[in-house]
């Protein structure tokens, strides 16, 4: 599947769109971390919680559960909620 990476994480991927595999959100993030070491921890904390300003969308639906199943094709959009100053 194609995964959209937010600009704050381009230092890991070097580009906005990357390919990753996995049957669940967690598996896709694990695959991203294999390809781009360290990227998962910037988005998900050590207790498995998606960090406060990270949002994940699949087919315009926001995903909150890392165990949520994902089809093999499609686009997972990872975006950063704007905050701070």
């Amino acid at each position: 599947m194609r995964v959209l990476i937010p600009s704050a994480l381009h230092s890991y991927t070097g580009r906005a769109w990357v390919a990753a595999e996995g049957a669940t959100v967690a598996a896709v993030l694990d695959d991203l971390d294999r390809q781009f070491p360290g990227i998962r921890f910037r988005m998900v904390d050590e207790q498995g919680q998606i960090r406060r300003h990270i949002r994940l969308f699949f087919r315009n639906e926001m995903l909150f559960d890392l165990a949520a199943p994902l089809p093999a094709d499609g686009e997972l959009c990872i975006v950063q909620a704007l905050s701070g100053g």
């Binding site: 937010p6 704050a8 994480l9 070491p37 360290g38 921890f41 910037r42 988005m43 998900v44 904390d45 050590e46 207790q47 919680q49 960090r51 300003h53 990270i54 950063q80 909620a81 905050s83 701070g84």
Partner: protein, 383 residues
């Protein structure tokens, strides 16, 4: 981390960590001209940037952004290139029936004893103690405190901590004994280990708490910054939410030496700076801790206060600093000393100004303006 073990005579480099990135300022031989290197990590919140004095080359930066989780970056070429830690500080899974916690940011970095190359300690928010044994590449929870029932109680709630989260800070390694450790927490008191971190115990006797809180509860002690004197490792100085203190070991009772500060200034502040070679000399940067705690220079007139007799008397040092309408805060890691023969002092402000003194605080010059809010300043000697 401090410059104090380094030989004097070489020009220092300042490591400046800010809310929006990090900068290095390299001095010339006279500490007159400063070459600016930065920004590094523009837009990242850098809580601490330190140099390993054991090799004089390795930098560690504690970083996060407003959107992303915390991490540690490492450079072995003085910031030309950076590599991210493979395993940044992170708490373990739920233990002892306690709530699971996640590191919000790494706040404090301290290198371990000179006999333990590549070993580092990190303090986090919320309060946690971590250790790396590979130069900062991987980090693991250290000691029993992170998931200890008693320590969890002493950590207090997020509401008990500082506005951007309760912190573990002031990690100190006795230069004579790698097993003798101290740390402090805002809030949660000062703690000591004599067994290399296997166990810690509170060291709060003599310290005060805000009126109305229970002084028998370690939770309510709020040390802001603790420093050990390199020239006399049995002496500690502390700037606390409730005054300035000195502790001479093996004693266990802190003495409030801030009582001798001028009444209109008080003895509240964040940083504490000790002289690299004279344990009688220390510097503080008082702030307004009255009524609603403005946390700015008292009266809008910034001044350093120096003591050269271990805190019995204090001298105001404000020559060159703004005489009025300067409403700064200087955070606990944002004031430091170099190790030159005539000691240089450095102050980073919440308004993004960097001030320095080449004469132990007698006169001050502005070294840089218009930086982001400064969180930490270290004076170091790269090799």
């Amino acid at each position: 981390m401090s410059a104090t073990q380094e030989p004097a005579g070489r020009p220092p480099t300042l490591l400046v960590a800010t809310r929006k990135g990090a900068w290095l300022f390299h001095a010339d031989a006279g500490r007159q001209q400063w070459r600016v290197d930065g920004p590094h990590f523009l837009g990242h919140i850098i809580n601490h940037l330190v140099l390993d004095p054991r090799d004089g080359r390795t930098l560690l930066a504690a970083a996060k952004t407003g959107h992303l989780g915390p991490t540690i970056f490492r450079s072995t070429d003085l910031g030309k290139t950076w590599q991210e830690a493979a395993q940044p500080p992170a708490f373990g899974p739920v233990a002892n029936g306690l709530d699971a916690r996640a590191v919000d940011h790494t706040f404090w970095l301290t290198q371990a004893h000179a006999s333990e190359p590549d070993v580092w300690y990190a303090g986090t928010s919320p309060q946690g103690l971590f250790r790396s044994e590979d130069g900062g590449r991987t980090w693991a929870p250290f000691s029993c405190i992170n998931d200890d029932l008693q320590y969890r109680k002493w950590f207090g709630t997020v509401q008990d901590g500082t506005p951007d989260g309760p912190k573990l800070h002031s990690i100190i390694v006795d230069p004579r004994d790698p097993r003798h450790l101290y740390f402090a927490m805002s809030g949660g008191g000062v703690h000591e280990s004599l067994d290399g971190g296997k166990s810690f115990s509170p060291l709060v006797e003599g310290m005060e708490v805000v009126e109305g809180f229970d002084s028998s509860d370690v939770t309510f002690y709020d040390p802001h910054c603790v420093r050990l004197c390199p020239s006399n490792p049995d002496r500690l100085y502390q700037q606390n939410h409730c005054g300035i203190y000195r502790l001479d070991r093996p004693g266990h009772r802190w003495q409030r030496i801030g009582r001798n500060m001028p009444g209109e200034v008080g003895d509240i502040g964040f940083p504490m700076v000790v002289h690299p070679r004279n344990a009688q000399t220390l510097w503080v940067f008082p702030m307004d801790g009255s009524n609603v705690w403005p946390r700015v220079s008292p009266g809008g007139r910034p001044a350093v206060y120096a003591s050269r007799d271990g805190g019995q008397s204090w001298q105001r040092q404000d020559t060159g600093l703004p005489a009025s309408q300067a409403w700064w805060t200087v955070k606990r890691q944002a004031m430091t000393a170099d190790a030159n023969e005539v000691v240089g002092l450095y102050v980073g402000t919440s308004s993004g100004e960097l001030w320095h003194s080449r004469d132990e605080g007698q006169s001050w010059q502005c070294l840089a303006r218009h930086l982001p809010e400064i969180y930490a300043v270290e004076a170091v000697y790269p090799r």
